[in-house]
Amino acid sequence: MRVIECTDLTKTYLRKNVLDKLSFSIEENKITGLIGRNGVGKTTLLKIIAGFIKETSGQVKVFSERPYNSLNVSINSIFVDDQMSFPPAIPLGEILTVAGNFYPNWDRELAKGLFDYFSFDPKSYHNRLSKGKTSTFNMIIGLASRCPLTIFDEPTTGMDAAVRKDFYRALLKDYIAYPRTIILSSHHLDEIEDLLEDVLLIKDGKKHFQMSISELKEWAIGLKGTTEEVLNFSDGKEILFKEYFGLNTMYAVVKNDFSEPLLNKAHLVGVEILPVQSSDLCVYLTSETKGGIDDVFNKR
């Protein structure tokens, strides 16, 4: 079943298309990573899915309904980010009770367990929490609500490494016990890639690609060797990224459509074949310029 279906989804702010004819769908009970550079419209997309903001044109369906003003979408989904706001008059302990009143699948024990594990004070207030603690608290709400569609927009903002690790583990354990559709947007693909089943990469408000994480891991390879040989083997292919080392050594990332014999041949002439980290690959694929940071300095 498709939980989310977008067709030609466009969102315009001040005459600029933040989302530009975006079409994709997300299957039920998968964890999808939403990846893209800053400002490509990830948050905008997620807020449209959550029904917070309106699409300018195109179609968006969540659980087969338009999310904007849909109570059914609202009760079956939750949007978690560091901007989630809670009434300043209600202490943290009671917020858990309130959330439990609203969300039908709310797991009180899980909420309480995480709340105590991360040593929150039930009498404290949300607006007095530090950045990392705010994210941690919001994450607890997001997990314990157990919504069939759970959206985490940059959930680990401000969390330290240990808490991030705990969060990923908690997310995965609860997902295994209660499978649901989860969207995770993050800058740290390297941190979340193990959790993901699918990756949706957005560039310039458009879908760049959507594939499973295992496909992504093998989608490209890095060739490293003498500039001459590397250029020879990458001839006719689009070089997604290149870097030069020393006098005559080159590293190039290309799409992995080499045959096994060709790879062996490359290896024999001294070209190293290296796997490309999916997080690096995403950076290469979404780079605005063809060059790198060095070009800025080379021009001077």
Partner: protein
């Protein structure tokens, strides 16, 4: 994971109780404001004195008018405040749509109106008793039986609720565009001055006459309810188009 389907009124009910809890501070400020009004009223709202020879009579009028006035202002401000961004965002943290958000706001404002009115009227009675005890005044009260007390409260509720609907509507306009912060006072006072300069009877007087001078209780109730409905419906239809958390 199986989907939950939900009905509007169930959501509104949950949001209503959530709002009572979240906006509890509004009620403590109500108490503060009414106490302040009581203090101001303690000298009496009007007095007539006469004397001659070896006697003097001093008649003071004690009334809860000032308390009601302050309560109206409180209700107006409360209604505006709940249209602001933070309050709308709180709703969207949990389960809501724009209609349920407004409906629960209206229920909350109705509750505020009822609580504000009852305390205001009771404060008026308290005033008279306090004046009797503390100032040793003799009370010559108009006959205030239970029926009149209830009616007084009822009419006050209508007035206060009326004011909240205006507040909610104005607050919504301001959320739609900050221009209304300037536009509304300019329009309001502009018309007043214009009418004054044209020697016309100010429209406010007419408005006041239309509601306040209505001698049939039933018609008064109808007039207020219709007006309140118009303001709230207008506000809801504007809010329905409004994006949150952008």
């Amino acid at each position: 994971m199986s989907l939950t389907s939900v009905n509007l009124w169930e959501t509104v009910k949950k949001q209503y109780f959530f709002k009572l809890k979240a906006n509890i501070d509004a009620f403590s400020s109500l108490i503060g404001i009414q106490l302040l009004a009581l203090l101001f009223s303690f000298g009496g709202v009007g007095s007539v004195g006469m004397g001659g020879g070896n006697f003097s009579i001093n008649i003071k009028y004690y009334s809860a008018d000032l308390v009601i006035g302050f309560t109206l202002i409180w209700a107006f401000v409360t209604a505006i405040v709940i249209t602001t961004k933070p309050y709308r965002n709180h709703d969207f943290t949990f389960v809501t749509n724009r209609l349920s958000s407004s409906l629960s706001n209206i229920l909350y404002l109705l509750t505020a109106s009822i609580v504000g009115s009852i305390t205001a009227i009771l404060a008026g009675n308290l005033l008279k008793i306090l004046a009797h005890i503390l100032l040793d005044d003799q009370i010559y009260s108009f006959n205030t039986g239970l029926q009149e007390l209830v009616m007084g409260i009822g009419v006050t509720i209508l007035y206060v609720f009326f004011v909240t609907s205006i507040g909610y509507f104005i607050g919504t306009l301001v959320q739609e565009s900050k221009l209304f912060i300037i536009l509304i006072p300019v329009l309001f006072f502009g018309i007043l001055f214009l009418e004054a300069s044209m020697q016309k009877e100010p429209f406010l007087i007419n408005v006041f006459k239309f509601y306040g001078m209505e001698s049939t209780l039933f018609l008064f109730i109808i007039k207020v309810i219709v007006t309140v409905a118009v303001f709230f419906t207008a506000a809801i239809s504007i809010l329905n188009r409004m994006e949150v958390r952008r």
